[in-house]
């Protein structure tokens, strides 16, 4: 793959405040057409990284290039222009609860284009057909199941055919059928629409099944990268623990605490 990467992050560091750094010198490259997984425990900085790619957060150090633009150098208007080429699926869909499914999917078309209503109608129905929910066009978000809501959100995210799709925990909290549907949609939409996708997830096997390449993060650093198969057979201690879901390893089961005995003998310390 010789073409320019869609996303190129070089030694990016970030912290919400000086005392709590979240990312330490993270570097990654995402090639056009690929589906890339960013995996790791909750709180390891995956979502923060996704938000830096979306221009939501500004990295403290390092450089972020997305779709050929240097995100750090863009002003508010530039970020908005860049985001028109991106779509994002939020963990719980984030559908507009005061609009029907149809209006949710039509939202960006009506905000950003002057398409006539008939064309908006056709496009919305095509997007809904792609996620299998054309029949639900007139329902309200409150009438949808969790899996359906996420499919509608997916249709809304691809409404303007984005070149880069960002998925924030798209598989969390779904039943096995919905999970399979969403996972397959991520892959097929990516390939049929010629997108590039970043999937932030901690569902190991489901994610491995659809991605081409995986970055594994721990405590704000990328600790391993490779194809899903390489990750399955990785010798790296954290990756082994993460992929197999073992309770003890480099990540301890116990939250740091003083000696057990000392704590039990001096119960007054907790009031």
């Amino acid at each position: 793959m010789a073409s320019a990467p869609i996303v190129e992050i070089d030694k990016v560091s970030f912290g919400y405040d000086a005392a709590r750094p979240v990312l330490h010198g993270v570097s990654l490259r995402i090639e056009p057409g690929s589906v890339v997984g960013i995996m790791g425990q909750s709180g390891c900085g995956k979502t923060t990284l996704l938000r830096i790619v979306a221009g939501w957060l500004k990295a403290g150090a390092g450089s972020t290039r997305v779709l050929g633009e240097s995100v750090e150098d863009l002003d508010g208007g530039g970020i908005f222009a860049l985001r028109r080429k991106m779509g994002m699926l939020f963990q719980f869909g984030a559908l507009f609860t005061d609009m029907t499914v149809f209006d949710n999917v039509a939202f960006q078309m009506r905000e950003h284009t002057d398409l006539p209503p008939e064309m908006v109608n056709d496009l919305v129905l095509m997007k809904l057909e792609a996620v299998g929910l054309r029949g639900a066009a007139q329902l309200m978000p409150s009438e949808l199941s969790g899996g359906m809501a996420r499919r509608v959100a997916l249709a809304r995210a691809i409404a303007l055919d984005p070149r880069l799709m960002l998925y924030d925990e798209p598989l969390t909290g779904l039943d096995p059928i919905s999970l399979g549907v969403i996972a397959r949609l991520i892959r097929t939409l990516n390939d049929s629409l010629g997108q590039t996708s970043i999937v932030v997830s901690h569902d190991v096997e489901e994610c491995f099944a659809i991605v081409d390449y995986v970055y594994v993060m721990s405590a704000g650093r990328i600790v391993a990268e490779g194809k899903p198969d390489e990750m399955r057979h990785s010798g790296e201690a954290f990756v082994k623990q993460f992929v197999r879901g073992e309770t003890d390893g480099p990540i301890k089961f116990h939250y740091p605490a003083p000696g057990y005995e000392a704590d039990l003998v001096a119960p007054a310390a907790h009031g």
Binding site: T97, F107, Q108, E111, H112
Partner: protein, 278 residues
């Protein structure tokens, strides 16, 4: 002995310093928030284009903030007017001037009670709803999703609600006053038997369009700006949790009620204490 005294002194100073520090931090946080609210206000004004260009967005919010507040405004107006009729008659008849009931009812409502009570009701009915709605949109990432779709939530969500509140408030206050005058008429004229002709004619001759009605409209407009600004700001600034949104909703009602009463005093002082004050 000396050492103990010195330790006690040190503890006292440490306590004092801590208290002062906390006070300072609290004050700083409040001032910072006030500054943020002011910048937010400017951002609303700068991003109001969409609210007027696509006026249907604002109309929709006028329906939610204004039309749905009509019942409570009209019923309250009626009862406030009826009470004014009873109390006013009781006082005026002691001086043998019960025909002046029309003036008393109309002036009280148009100058004070209309804007103030309608404002208070508007704050608790519509202001709280605006805060809760924007706060929940934030908590469920709808605001974030909008930003991700390159749509500015201040222009698309906040500004239409702000202008809807500002436009609704004077109309609601006017309806409140009209309904109140009708209530006063029902009690004064129909129930007690004050002369109908003098009730209306005295009212007509004494209520001045510029002095009384315009000042009432200005008041309600100012209250509308204050209440809606507080409501949208609290919603937008709410922490995205259940407690965050409930706390913000409470703050909207408390802060905007206080703001109305304080602003009312300031405006009354400016409007009615000049050389030609009535």
């Amino acid at each position: 002995m000396w050492r103990r005294l010195r330790m006690a002194e040190r503890a006292l100073f440490a306590g004092l310093r801590q208290g002062l520090e906390r006070l300072g931090q609290g004050a700083e946080a409040k001032i910072r928030r006030l500054g943020f609210a002011a910048r937010f206000f400017v951002a609303i004004l700068l991003n109001s284009g969409t609210a007027f260009r696509r006026f249907s967005l604002t109309i929709r919010e006028i329906y939610f903030a204004g039309v749905l507040s009509l019942v409570i405004i009209l019923v309250s107006g009626l009862f406030v007017g009826m009470v004014l009729g009873l109390q006013g008659y009781d006082t005026l008849q002691r001086y043998g001037s019960s025909e002046a009931l029309g003036i008393l009812v109309a002036l009280s409502l148009v100058r004070e009670l209309g804007p103030v009570i309608a404002g208070l009701l508007f704050a608790s009915r519509a202001g709280s709803a605006i805060t809760a709605e924007i706060g929940l949109m934030k908590a469920t990432e709808q605001i974030a999703a909008m930003e991700m779709m390159a749509v500015d939530p201040i222009a698309r969500v906040v500004a239409p609600r702000f202008w809807a509140g500002v436009l609704s408030m004077p109309l609601l206050a006017a309806l409140f006053s009209a309904m109140g005058i009708f209530g006063g008429y029902l009690v004064g004229v129909k129930l007690i038997g004050v002369d109908e002709g003098s009730f209306w004619s005295q009212m007509q001759s004494s209520v001045d369009v510029r002095e009384d009605i315009m000042n009432g409209v200005i008041k309600s407009l100012v209250f509308g700006v204050a209440v809606t600004w507080i409501a949208v700001f609290e919603g937008y600034d709410a922490p995205p949790t259940a407690e965050g949104v409930s706390g913000a909703t409470t703050r909207t009602v408390v802060t905007s009620s206080l703001a109305i009463l304080v602003l009312d005093f300031v405006l009354t002082a400016l409007m009615f204490t000049g050389g030609n004050g009535k």
